[in-house]
């Protein structure tokens, strides 16, 4: 008799737990936000993607997407992120790779939504065959592109208000930072992506950040919009362009430092090196254009302010 | 000029015994022909004399065992003309012949006028002075053989080892080359050891013969005593008729198609 009661109690408990879990999935409007209806249809460059229900087991294979998802408040819906998603630190990092997605490993987590930066290894096809939606979120072309992606993720994960708040915060902060800094009068900048002198012109996302502060990108001078804004320069060109600021976005991948830059043949004569305006930054901070871009803008603001005073003095 | 003596020379390639203790002697100015069917060990025996292969027994050049000789010193006495010599592409004949002076040069030395004079003399002596600027790989068979011989002679050897010196030549060039070698033997006192398929030519030029079969010496001595119809039948499996011809013999192959020894009637 007591055994039967015990079993019934267990069953009832389980049922209640399941019911409790189900509740958030029911499309009842949350008190403060617009209603998020499922299924959702999203038009992407790859075609129509259907999200059947609110995703509770999200896998993010893109560091930028990871940051965005957590920043809109959907962190609890994420079950796994790739090995390069180092931010935020409490994200469930795994050995998964966004460059070479291992389909079996991914499906092992039973995802109901996969986020990736570009479709590698036939991921979209494989996931579609398993009825798991994949959102491909390529690197944004500009800030408004970033805001769009954040809003999209907010809709998809049912955190519309979180997304809207994030976007307006970002807009506000960035605008504030930019106005707090006097427009840099024609200071020239060289943004280094790797030690073979790949750089970004002002037509790129990062180039536009610099443009906001009135900086001139030395890569523009040669009229380089080919290679989608990421041309390769040469030592001679850079030395003769004599940039006043150098940002090293290859401190992690390519182990570049202020010292290694100064040691390059001929570089010790560049203005930026002579005035100690060589700024090493973390590669990912400069290349992951999600919520952390605000931190980068703040960094650039500090750099510009300092440089202004240095160059005004000379 | 000195001679060479093989004392119980044996060679094994791994587990396989290729040469079973053969002995022979060639004095200065003598010609020894090494005959035998394919696979009998002729080339191996010649290579042993040059020190190119490990052997047991001994090879004595003059009075010295080649085991105690520095390779370069040996090369000043023994010159090898292999069966398939390499003709490096693009190398001039004159350069090629000059390489024969290698054993006379110390490790880092370059050729001197004396060496060039020797090479020049050899070219003239063999009558191929006109070929000096030719590419060795572009020569005809006869020209090539003489060039190879010139290189061997540039070594100024006492002993000349020839592995099938005429197999690739037409009958005219065969005679030329053999006469030239015989000339050297008589005038310079060079000891000649040659391995040959052409039994008749061997008998015409060599005074002594060693016949090998399966790595053993099965006969040795003067031409007449070694080359007999029974022996050739037994070791070569060939039917021949032997005819005396002056100092040598003529070996006439006989067709045995059942219609008599000449096979004339068909």
């Amino acid at each position: 008799m007591s055994r039967k009661i015990f079993i019934i109690a267990i069953v009832l408990f389980a049922a209640t737990a399941c019911a409790a879990k189900k509740t958030p999935v029911a499309p009842t409007p949350t008190p403060s936000a617009a209603a998020v209806a499922y299924p959702q249809q999203i038009t992407t460059s790859a075609g129509l993607v259907t999200i059947p229900k609110k995703p509770e087991r999200i896998i993010s294979l893109s560091a930028t997407a990871t940051q965005m998802v957590f920043a809109v408040g959907a962190g609890r819906q994420v079950v796994a992120v790739d090995q390069y998603s180092t931010y935020p630190t409490n994200a469930p990092r795994t050995k998964l790779s966004g460059f070479q997605p291992n389909i079996e490993a991914i499906t092992g987590y039973r995802p109901d939504l996969v986020l990736i930066e570009s479709d590698q290894g036939g991921l979209v096809k494989s996931m579609n065959a398993l009825h798991v939606p994949v959102l491909v979120l390529p690197a944004a072309k500009d800030l408004s592109g970033t805001y769009d992606q954040i809003n999209e993720l907010g809709r998809v994960t049912s955190h519309v208000d979180g997304a809207q708040r994030l976007v307006s915060n970002m807009r506000h902060e960035i605008a504030q930072i930019v106005t707090s800094v006097p427009k840099a009068s024609n200071l020239s900048i060289y943004h280094e992506l790797d030690q073979t002198y790949y750089t970004a012109t002002s037509a790129t996302f990062i180039g536009q950040i610099y443009k906001m502060f009135g900086l001139t990108d030395i890569a523009d001078k040669a009229g380089l919009t080919k290679n989608s804004g990421y041309p390769q320069l040469s030592s001679e060109y850079i030395v003769s362009a004599d940039p006043q600021l150098i940002v090293l976005a290859d401190t992690v991948c390519c182990k570049q430092t202020k010292a290694s830059v100064a040691a390059r043949p001929g570089w010790s004569k560049i203005a930026a090196v002579q005035h100690d305006e060589v700024i090493p930054v973390d590669d990912s901070l400069a290349s992951q254009w999600g919520p952390r871009i605000v931190d980068y803008v703040r960094l650039v603001a500090g750099v510009v302010t300092h440089a202004e005073s240095v160059y005004k003095a000379t | 000029m000195t001679g060479v003596e093989l004392v119980d020379v044996g060679v094994s390639y791994g587990e396989r015994r290729v040469l079973h203790g053969i002995s022979a002697r060639v004095g200065a100015g003598e010609w020894l022909a090494v005959l035998g069917p394919n696979g009998s060990g002729k080339t191996t025996a010649l290579r042993a004399v040059c020190g190119l292969v490990d052997f047991d027994g001994d090879v004595i050049v003059g009075t010295t065992s080649i085991r105690t000789m520095h390779k370069r010193v040996l090369a000043r006495s023994v010159a090898l003309l292999p069966q398939h010599p390499t003709a490096p592409v693009g190398m001039r004949v004159s350069t090629y012949v000059l390489l024969g002076r290698t054993p006379h040069l110390s490790y880092f030395a370059q050729e001197t006028d004396k060496d060039r004079a020797v090479a020049e003399r050899v070219l003239d002596r063999l009558g191929i002075g006109a070929l000096a600027e030719r590419d060795v790989s572009s020569l005809s068979g006869g020209e090539r053989q003489l060039t190879m011989l010139a290189r061997a002679l540039a070594q100024e050897p006492s002993i000349l080892i020839l592995d099938e010196p005429t197999s690739a030549l037409d009958i005219g060039h065969q005679q030329d080359v053999m006469e030239v070698i015989d000339d050297l033997r008589r005038n310079d006192g060079i000891a000649v050891i040659s391995a040959m398929h052409d039994l008749t030519a061997a008998s015409q030029f060599a005074a002594n013969i060693v016949m090998l079969s399966r790595g053993h010496v099965v006969a040795s001595g003067h031409v007449g005593s070694v080359l007999t119809e029974e022996r050739i039948k037994e070791h070569f499996g060939a039917s021949v008729r032997i005819v005396q011809d002056g100092a040598g013999v003529v070996v006439i192959p006989v067709r045995t198609n059942g219609n008599g020894s000449t096979g004339a009637a068909r």
């Binding site: - | 090369a75 004079a117 070219l123």
Partner: protein, 346 residues
Amino acid sequence: MTDEAAARVASHRLRARWLVVALAMLALAMAAGMLFGAKSLPPSDVLRSLVGSSSHGKQPLDAVIVRSIRLPRVLLAGLVGGVLALAGAAYQGVFANPLADPYLLGAASGAEVGATIAIAYAPAAWSVNSVPVAAFLGSIAAVAAAVVLGRSVRAGRSTTVLILAGVAIAAFLTAVETYVQQQHQAAIRLIYSFILGRLGTAGWSGLKLVLPYALVAAIVILLHRRHLDVLSLGDDEAASLGIRVARVRLILVAAATLATAAAVAIAGTIAFVGIIVPHTIRLITGGSYRTILPLSIIVGAAFLILADLVARTAVAPAELPIGVITALIGAPFFVVLLRRSRVVAQ
């Protein structure tokens, strides 16, 4: 002996006219390398920058470009080109094969694996300067492994066995390299830029690193130039002429590899120079290493200086990997060789 006769038997000697032609090529190449670049500078400025005094403090940037960027780069390209061509000629002689190149026994694979492992596993504290050292050691280790493997075989003194051992080692190392790269995707960019060529970034320090090895190798190989001619006769005949074939081969491989390892460690893997230059010289001047070796050094230097010039000006200010240029020249070269195959066939 008459003069005519002397001339006849001295054909292996390096003819003065070839030497003059080669040196002229080198001088022209060096001049072109200094005069042209991503930044166009008038020749008078270039000249002034070279001979002008180096005043401390403000130096016009043009002078910096000429003295600190172009000059060491041209010199390094020349040195690496000369080394690779010399090593290629030595390998061609040792293996009696006109298509041998300095990477035959795994020198390039070894350098790449060394660089890959250093980049992938080195702690962040190590500077980027540790990579060339790792590449150098990897290169030497690979060739040593090939030699040991080749000699461990019973018939192991033949060149065929040695080549096979080199192929085996290179294949194995390529697998290791690929595996490590896949495990460290983020480092791939750095690894590839290392492999594709770094003539532009090595500077004076790179030159200083390569020079001693290049000198040692050049001296050793040139001292053995007569031996290389003898080796071209094949193992048996060379031995019958009194040469200790295996030992000479080892010395030459060691010297050539030492210089190749240094060149690859600093400048990356540059293909085709080691085959094209010595072979072309052989086709033009005839088959003695007494001629081929010194000319290879000079012409190899000129060749790579010009290839590097094209690499850094064709798509200026961007740069093409120098391996692309040498390959673009190498491909038609092999077509020409094919059509002359009558000559190539041994």
